[in-house]
């Protein structure tokens, strides 16, 4: 292979590798405030998907806005679990956005008039990460709380018989 071709391939490979990291590690600290309460998403796809900072913000907001009050850490309680394969109202990002923003029958409140759009997308990204639908390199393996990973808890129970 000629040396120019080699250089070209090397350059493309480096750029690809760079773009993966650059995409995942974005810190977009200053969102564009939208001018209204947000009941339908402005964008079709989740702008927060695949970005570690956004997923982390989604995790923080999940706790701060007390989603865990009904959904626990994904296992559900008063509300349905959020770690699952079949979603009542759809598990795609846009559908999750609508569930959060407009609410759903049987008790899910509408948050779109309080939570800004960009934060709803962050929560959507986090919920999808609970279901391993976000890149694992952008998803934290655990949080600084008691162990909540269902697989770990199941395994621990199997070991100790509790």
């Amino acid at each position: 292979m000629c040396s120019r071709c080699r250089d070209g391939i090397a350059g493309i490979a480096i750029l690809l590798a760079a773009s993966f990291g650059c995409q995942r590690e974005q810190r977009n600290l200053r969102p564009e405030p939208t001018g209204q309460a947000m009941f339908t998403p402005l964008k079709g796809s989740n702008p927060s998907s695949g970005i570690a900072y956004e997923i982390s913000e989604g995790q923080r907001l999940y706790t701060w806005y007390n989603c865990s009050g009904c959904h626990a850490n994904g296992g559900g309680g008063i509300g349905p679990p959020l770690i699952k394969t079949s979603w009542i109202y759809g598990g795609e990002p846009a559908k999750l956005f609508e569930s959060i923003a407009k609410g759903r029958p049987n008790g899910m409140p509408a948050w779109g008039d309080r939570i800004p759009e960009y934060q709803i997308w962050q929560i959507v990204a986090y919920v999808r990460s609970l279901n391993q639908q976000e890149p694992s390199s952008a998803t934290p393996k655990r949080l600084d709380t008691i162990e909540t990973n269902p697989q770990t808890i199941r395994a621990a129970r199997a070991r100790t018989g509790k």
Binding site: A17, A18, F20, G21, C22, R24, E25, Q26, R27, L29, A52, Y53, S56, Q59, S136, S137, A138, P140, K141, R142, L143, D144, T145, I146, E147, N149, T152
Partner: protein
């Protein structure tokens, strides 16, 4: 080469030299270049690579100083600034300081000991490749927005899985694996070389002080580096990639556990950087005052004591964490005690200078600068050892000033002195003395302009690691002065580079011993041949080249047609046996590449360690595959 000795026996030096040339010849081509196992080549690779990382760290420093020059400056945002100061610290500590000292050791120790190579040449090459790959790995992160942003010591929970967002901290933690493997390789081979491969007659009390320094440092590396691998890899990296709970209080872990284990490494780390510099200063001082270093036994014992006591100080980095006061007081005492051992070194050098005939070369300028700057830094260290004072100035710019005074003064200035001192040996040409002295004055002035005001800033309450500050705090003028000083340092560095480049081409040819020095490295060619000496020397005293030639000797009977060295006893360096060293080999690079691929994979998935082990094992099989020593084939 200086004829070491006049003998009555007929020695055909020309024939011996020719045979050695053939046995020690470097292989050609790119693959051959990757296969070098001679210590001069690998030492120089370490030195050049570490110097490039020094420049990278310097760029990061200049960026920081540009941001802090004015209050509420908008040059760098918080995220970028956090990445830059973390990368600056990590680069300087892991990618510049320790590898540079090791590179100087790898290059100079076999020459000073009168042998032909380090004890494990292929391990030497492997260590370098691991270091290079680790450094490039971190900087690949830097250029893909994945530079670590949690400080060079990366305390959890900030660096933990919840708050250390993304892969940045994982890159940092794995970079440490690379550099610590490299450091352990170098430490192992230096200890073996210094203890077992000295020239006959070089008993323990005749070893050059630089070699003693490298011996102490190597032992320190072996005891300290595993601690940082434990902290960064086992605690932090597995918490982040596997989900363990070492630092998670909710499940029984503790963030302070990380701090203890990290600083158990972190404090000896600074002595690992500093002690080789002490050895360099001794080499420069004895040559350029034209007398032996005063108080050799005190110098050796104080270096060893520094190394030993250095392991008992680590809690002084944690005085603010609320540990029991009685325990903390012990660490105050130990932290002050170590000033005694460093003080003894300074006093002995002063005594040497007092009673010697000082030749104010550029190298000696750097030694004087070292004494001034390092002593000031050491004294602020005594202040920091006091708990009440530390609780006020900890985590402020006072500490930044302190450690730059002791690290730049105590390691960088001796290093630059060493560059000017050994440049003739490395390159065969004299370095420009006037430019060297101008370099010193630029670096000295710029350094003090930059870092002295930081003492004041710390006392005025300016905390570390802040990307900006408010105008009404009154910190603006001192920060501006510090930023100006940083650019003066830059000019000093550029002048040094220009001097090196020019002197390599146009400097006066140096000959083997331009300084009329006393130690063995000056008996080899400039630059040394791959085999260092045609005949290995026999050593009658601490300064072989200053003794009567009639008392020196040569070793005959070591084979020249293969890469053979003489192994001697530990205490008296009596010849014990001859040993064939391996020739050039590509296996260190292949093994390093395989292990590195696995380690990089492990940053993303823990299972990456399995290919690391598998590929490493495969590499080692090729490495150790039995083959006839070069020269024995018939």
């Amino acid at each position: 080469m200086i004829p070491l000795v006049e003998t009555s026996r007929e020695l055909d030096e020309e024939q011996e030299r020719g045979t050695l040339e053939r046995a020690w010849r470097h292989p050609g081509g790119f693959v051959g270049w990757c296969s070098y196992t001679t210590h001069q080549a690998i030492g120089m690779r370490y030195i050049v690579t570490a110097f490039l990382f020094l420049l990278a760290g310097g760029v990061e420093a200049l960026l920081m100083r540009l941001q802090l020059a004015r209050p509420e400056n908008g040059f760098l945002g918080p995220d970028r600034y956090n990445q830059i100061f973390t990368t600056h610290g990590s680069t300087m500590m892991f990618l510049f300081a320790v590898p540079m000292m090791e590179g100087m050791g790898i290059y100079l120790v076999p020459l000073m000991l009168g042998t032909r190579n380090v004890a494990f040449p292929r391990l030497n090459a492997f260590g370098y490749w691991m270091y290079l790959i680790g450094g490039l790995f971190l900087y690949w992160g830097v250029f893909t927005n994945t530079a670590p942003d949690v400080g060079w010591f990366a305390y959890p929970p900030l660096s933990g899985p919840q708050f250390g967002i993304g892969k940045r901290v994982d890159f940092w933690a794995q970079m440490i694996t690379f550099t610590e493997i490299s450091a352990l390789c170098v430490a192992t081979e230096l200890i073996a070389t210094i203890l077992k491969m000295r020239a006959p007659g070089m008993s323990l009390n005749r070893i050059p002080l630089f070699c003693w320094a490298m011996l102490v440092q190597s032992f320190m590396v072996i005891f300290a580096m595993p601690a940082v691998m434990l902290a960064s890899n086992i605690f932090l990296l597995t918490d982040r990639t596997v989900g363990t709970h070492f630092t998670n209080p909710a499940e029984g872990g503790d963030p302070l556990l990380y701090q203890h284990v990290f600083w158990f490494f972190g404090h000896p780390e600074v002595y690992i950087i500093f002690i080789p510099a002490l050895g360099m200063v001794s080499s420069i001082v004895d040559t350029h005052t034209r007398r032996a270093i005063f108080g050799y036994p005190a110098m050796v014992l104080s270096m060893a004591a520094t190394g030993f006591i250095g392991f008992g100080l680590w809690v002084h980095h944690m005085f603010a964490t609320g540990l029991p006061q009685i325990g903390e007081a012990y660490f105050t005492a130990a932290s002050m005690m170590i000033a005694i051992t460093s003080g003894v070194q300074i006093f002995c050098w002063l005594a040497t200078m007092w009673s010697g005939r000082i030749r104010m070369t550029a190298a000696m300028h750097f030694v004087f600068g070292f004494v001034a700057i390092f002593v000031l830094g050491g004294l602020t260290g005594v202040m920091l050892a006091s708990i009440p004072i530390d609780l006020q100035v900890h985590d402020t710019f006072f500490v930044v000033a302190h450690f730059h005074y002791v690290l730049i003064g105590g390691a960088l200035f001796p290093l630059f002195g060493a560059f000017h001192h050994w440049f003739p040996k490395f390159t065969g040409r004299m370095i420009g003395e006037t430019a060297g002295k101008a370099t010193f004055w630029l670096l000295f002035t710029g350094f003090n302009l930059t870092f002295f005001p930081m003492h004041i800033l710390g006392l005025k309450g300016m905390t570390r690691r802040i990307y900006t500050y408010q105008p009404e705090m009154g910190w603006g003028p001192a920060n501006l002065l510090a930023s100006v000083g940083a650019f003066v340092i830059l000019f000093g560095g550029l002048l040094f580079l220009a001097n090196v480049i020019r002197s390599r081409r146009h400097g006066l040819p140096a000959g083997a011993d331009p300084w009329a020095s006393g130690t063995l490295e000056w008996a080899a060619d400039s630059p040394p041949a791959n085999y260092n000496f045609v005949y290995l020397p026999v050593v009658p005293g601490r300064y072989p080249l200053w003794t009567d030639p009639k008392q020196r000797g040569l070793v005959t009977g070591v084979r020249a047609d293969r890469r053979e060295v003489l192994v001697t006893t530990i205490m008296d360096a009596a010849p014990h046996h001859r040993y064939p060293l391996p020739g050039p080999s590509i296996w260190p690079l292949l093994t390093a590449a395989g292990v590195s691929a696995g380690l990089i994979w492990a940053v993303y998935q823990f299972s990456g360690y399995y290919p690391a082990i598998a590929l490493g094992t495969a590499g080692l099989i090729g490495w150790f595959w039995p083959r006839t020593p070069a020269g024995d084939e018939r």
